[in-house]
Symmetry: C2
Subunit: 532 residues, 2 copies
């Protein structure tokens, strides 16, 4: 055992340090084309433990890489940018420290999972909804927020709902952001900026400290909920659809982080690649594509989202939406009442022999309803089954267990039809050339921009496909950057492409890093280039 | 002339440097109890000029204090925290660099005033609305944003609508934040965070750099606009009113930065202190207070705000508002159509002899309508006349010209009736003890918190009152801090009270300052304590 591991065992106790080969191999697994292997895994239980972790790391000049729960699917999972780091797994720091129902917020530790907070809110009858991502029940809320991830509701921009952080710096100092560093501060969980510089943004997509507590705003359960689904028939309809939805998004009528997915993305969420029908040929032939599209009753592009409010608002938004997109494709609304009716009717239809289609549809609807009401599920993780040759058990929800390969390229684009079309035009030939399907969603993350999630889904058990996937990822990343569509977030192999030594932005970030963590102990190479 | 002034004259040209006694005295004026006097005033015209300003400042180890247009009323105006700084007046950098009507944003320089952008948006028929503050036509938008100021509409949190900064650092490097530092980045004005750490918050309420460009989101003109006004009769009604409005604010039905003002605040906006009737006694006797309240037809607390949207939404919000607050006091709605009717009717009523009251009401309504539609006026600056013994000309809009004294204490509180009542309970005796009226507004700045603006209004021509005002300010500041109601922003004499040497938050801020500006050249003492 190395001296640093011994020092951590001494400082933390042996049960919080694991350097066994099995553990190291487990943490080295990745949905990326390549993972990295740590030197050990540490399991702090408290902020004091995190301080101890950093004290030892500094003394031994060893890099530590904090993860909340390690479910950073598509971007690096639990892996550090480089081999040999000590993974600081914060999953045992999983206390829900406070839930305030009057002002609708929670204070949580990084180990709190989506499923855990959801269950807590339900069990305690709080009347509060959270926003969740598709990353599954076990994914951390803090981790997603610090990566500036997003969900589906009007609280979809997670960083925007974070209020007050506790951060441990490399030298062990504990910083409370916002108003949290003032004695008895009354507004530290309801007003984000505090007074003086607003520094919370520093701790997202960076490596300046380890966040050990976070305030998180929650939504009061709305009076009414109305799901809507739009499908448009042709690939090029994404243009007019984005332009039709933009005014509604910008006026605040559709405040949710609305997702627009293409047919491929939906195929992947409902099943696996039709290997038999295609005789193993990739990418998916056009006739198979059209067959699947028709069998599933979906469009070239599909929106599933919701709006909420008092009955009058919901009615008015329905009207506005009909007017805006009614002529572009199919538009359906499903209120809670209609959903209850469907739930009642579908089993009857199934018994009557109209078996498969309605049951499948109900299944998809249930998933969408859950997601849009902030109830996390593992359903979206099924998307990682798509290109597997050996279908994993249906209930398997850890892509690392069955070798699901995922490389996400996620450029941001202005919310215009032109930009949506341009991005699809750029990326489709690259996907085709590498024999992958262009699994894509566009998310209206704010009132003016969209994040495209372009998903290279592959089978890690196939070495050649894995290698091709890596090349495809880099080709997509490079051409999008060159065209000015910069990603909002990047996976391990994308990170070095983001920063240039002569860019004053990254110089400034590096100046701050040098001031706060001169030995580059925390998460070396995460977004910031390693210190020279 | 000192060597640094000569060096600036050399570097910038003589017309951009002014060290005349008259100018220094002009910039030393303040609405605060005390101002500070600069060593000279610099007028850069470009980012390159700002670089030159900083180069010379570094060579001569002279502090520079950037102001956008110097209209930081109530918090320090154009004054640096200490005497002898060179004021960098950015008012000549006043280009509107871009207005994008499709994606609804502008890119502006710090010298662009509220009035200028408003006129531009109107003259060019952009169909876009901006948010404005009550600071008047000449106040800078960038300056207010960097102080995290707020207006009245759903874009009222100005920092939240800022997208992409250009910042000059002390060593002359130019940083583009967000995506702005990537070549051809398409989303730099529509997505705030960029990739990697989000650093924009660093440049608010701090002194890490000089912001020379800013992207600013604008609102598409809404389909319908509906003003509403609520008055409640008793002081203690602020509690139930806040609690009744909170659910509407939190559910997004009232997305504006709703202001709740007390009677004193409204008296001050409509006239001056009744010196004759009170025989010079201060503070305002209760009988005079009730007389004015009744004469103006206002309540103990008053809300004037608006909501917008398609007709159906506006109708539904009216219903929700009636249900929520209808039993607490008076509630009136004024749509654009009704306002046209009032505009048509009032002159007729005046001609018929019902002269003063309707005309005055129309005047107040026009001001409120303007503000809530983002049209800046100088009307709110009249509030600075309140305690003057000599009434200035009605059209005078610069408090510095007539010695209007203003000290704003602005604590943040959770959006609960309890907290609103507690804050009024704490501050009223202090105002009374110092013989000032507790001019107060509560602004629902986000969905969970309010900023109270507690205004010590005084007459700078009266030395004793000025001195008392200073003491009143400190007494208010101290007791609010002690109770955990920390200010969102502070004036010159409040700044040193915010930071403590043993607070890791301020240590961290100081570490960053030392890394970016080791000689503490930029705005020494602004929020951050001076470097030791």
């Amino acid at each position: 055992m190395s001296s640093v591991v011994l020092a951590w065992r001494e400082a933390l106790g042996p049960d919080k340090v694991d350097a066994s080969e099995a553990t190291l191999q487990r943490y080295a697994r990745s949905t990326q084309a390549e993972g990295t292997i740590p030197c050990c895994v540490l399991y702090p239980m408290s902020t004091e433990d995190v301080q101890a972790v950093l004290r030892v790391a500094s003394q031994h000049n060893t890099v530590v890489y904090p993860i909340s729960r390690g479910k950073n699917w598509g971007y690096g999972d639990a892996c550090a940018p480089t081999d040999g780091a000590a993974i600081v797994d914060l999953s045992r720091m999983n206390r829900i420290l406070e839930v305030n129902t009057e002002l609708a917020y929670a204070v949580i530790e990084p180990g709190v999972s989506q499923g855990q907070l959801y269950d807590y809110l339900q069990a305690n009858d709080t009347g509060l909804w959270m926003d969740c991502t598709g990353a599954g029940l076990d994914a951390s809320l803090v981790g997603n927020t610090l990566d500036r991830g997003f969900g589906h509701t009007r609280y979809g921009d997670h960083f925007l709902t974070a209020c007050g952080m506790e951060v441990v710096l490399a030298d062990g100092r504990i910083v409370q952001t916002g108003f949290g560093h003032y004695a008895n501060a009354k507004a530290s969980r309801v007003y984000r900026y505090g007074v003086g510089p607003f520094i919370d943004g520093l701790f997202c997509q960076s490596n300046f400290g380890i966040v050990t507590k976070l305030g998180l705003w929650l939504m009061p359960k709305p009076e009414r909920f109305c799901f809507f689904y739009i499908t448009v028939p042709r690939d090029e309809d994404i243009g007019p659809m984005v332009d039709a939805l933009r005014p509604l998004r910008m006026d605040g009528l559709l405040p949710g982080a609305l997702h627009i997915g293409n047919d491929y993305r939906i195929f992947s969420s409902r099943g696996i690649y039709p290997w038999d029908r295609t005789g193993g040929v990739t990418p998916l032939p056009e006739n198979e594509r059209l067959r699947l599209r028709s069998a599933m009753g979906i469009g070239a592009w599909n929106v599933g989202s919701a709006f909420t409010g008092p009955a009058g608002h919901v009615r008015a938004t329905r009207r506005a939406l009909k007017k805006a997109v009614g002529s572009l494709g199919k538009l359906i609304f499903v209120s809670d009442r209609k959903m209850d009716l469907i739930r009642w009717g579908v089993p009857k239809l199934s018994r009557m022999g109209f078996a498969k289609r309605p049951a499948e549809l109900l299944d998809s609807l249930e998933t969408l309803f859950s997601t849009l009401k902030g109830k996390p599920t593992n359903d979206a993780l099924r998307g990682t089954h798509w290109r597997l040759r050996n279908r994993p058990p249906h209930d398997s929800s850890d892509p690392l267990d069955y070798g699901g390969g995922l490389l996400w390229v996620s450029p941001v684009l202005p919310m215009t039809g032109r930009d949506a079309l341009r991005v699809t035009e750029i990326v489709e030939p690259i996907f085709a050339e590498h024999r992958f399907e262009p699994l894509a969603t566009f998310t209206m993350i704010n009132e003016r921009s969209m994040v495209a999630i372009l998903n290279v889904a592959f089978d890690k058990s196939n070495a050649e496909e894995t290698e091709t996937a890596g090349r495809c990822y880099h080709a997509l990343f490079d051409v999008l950057m060159a065209e000015g569509y910069v990603p909002y977030r990047a996976g391990l192999s994308g990170l070095p492409k983001l920063s240039k030594a002569d860019d004053p932005f990254w110089q400034l970030a590096t100046d701050i890093k040098r001031a706060l963590d001169p030995h580059d102990i925390i998460a070396r190479g995460r977004y910031l280039p390693p210190l020279a």
